[in-house]
């Protein structure tokens, strides 16, 4: 199963807080984070990587990005 974190429209640092919450507390190994700015994309990727997670894919989706993370 994959959990989706929808952080679109939320400003710094909410997307990172939500991503880290899911990494620490969520049960699914695969997480998809949706963001709508490049800053959020960079911040989420940086935060996930620093938690030892693997960022599998970052692709444009709609007005923003879809970030696929696999928990480490």
């Amino acid at each position: 199963m994959t959990t989706t974190v929808d952080a679109r429209g939320l400003s710094c640092p909410q997307p990172v807080i939500m991503t880290l919450d899911e990494i620490k507390k969520g049960s699914d190994k695969d997480i998809v984070v949706l963001v709508d700015t490049d800053t959020s994309k960079e911040n989420v990727v940086r935060a996930a990587t620093s938690q030892g997670c693997q960022v599998k894919d970052v692709s444009p989706e709609g007005e923003g990005y879809r970030i696929a993370i696999v928990k480490g």
Partner: protein, 363 residues
Amino acid sequence: MQAKNIFATRGGIIGVGAGIGILAAVLQKLGNPGNMGICVACFERDIAGGLGLHRADVVQYIRPEIIGFVLGSLVAAYLFNEYRPRVGSAPIVRFVLGVFAMIGALVFLGCPWRAVLRLAGGDGNAILGLAGLTFGIWVGTLFLKNGYNLGRTQVTHAAVGWMLPLIMTGFLLLMIVFPQVPNEPKSGVLFYSVKGPGSMHAPLALALIVGLGIGFLAQRSRFCTMGAIRDLVLFGQTHLLTGFISLVVFAFVTNLVLGQFKAGFAGQPVAHSAHIWNFAGMTLAGLAFALAGGCPGRQLFLSGEGDGDAAVFVLGMIVGAGFAHNFGLASSPTGVGPYGIPAVIIGLLVCLFIGFTMRRKSA
């Protein structure tokens, strides 16, 4: 996939911090006030004065650096396809936070940018301000951990995001139509200080060019002085902090080279030594910046890339400067203003109210 943004790397943010630190010290050499090569709060306050929103005659000048910050960011955002017009995340709350952020900053006499530039110039009072800033941001992170949130933005028309850049362009046009006349306090509709910090400024074109350059680089790197401290406290991340530290180090070295470093507490330029209120003023500013999601510089850069809520925060700061000087809330080198202390207390209570009442509805 886009090309990697080199400015968002560790080396990139350090380079941008270094550039800002050097340019700020050079702007001081070119005419800006002492330890105020760049101060977002002071410069927005000067803009409020130049427009006559307050009539403190020593701090009236439309600062081209601020105009450059917004327009430089706009250019970078368009060039790199990052312009995202968006609004609707509790704009009125952001306005109020902007007002009190400015009031807190003017009790200290500087925003986070100037706090570190004061430190880099040897002003020991800045240590109290930075401690207060850190404390205020720490309080802000407690709210963030407990679900504080101003809600989502909506995508909107491109022109909505142009509003603040257009306002800034309007300010620039006013400066060209009504240029400063030596020793005259007014030119057309604009006010110009003939003495005090407002009379001290780098040449318009140079200030504008430096502002544009910093706006461009800061948009690319996401440079944020509040985020630097917040990310360390909240996530243990040092990415933005390295940029902030780089700013201090390079401003310090440049000040030494230019002979602008003078260590001490007493007699520092545009500063006072009321330690408690230096601390408390910046606590208020730090908390307001944390609740609004960015330092005053970052709010300008976000405005340039289409964030209409950040633009509302900026307007809140400019209006807050009007209140600060009209009501006697702002400090001066002689000390805290007559009503500065109650204003800080009221501001802290307002921020606590916002922090406690605005939580995420659905997890």
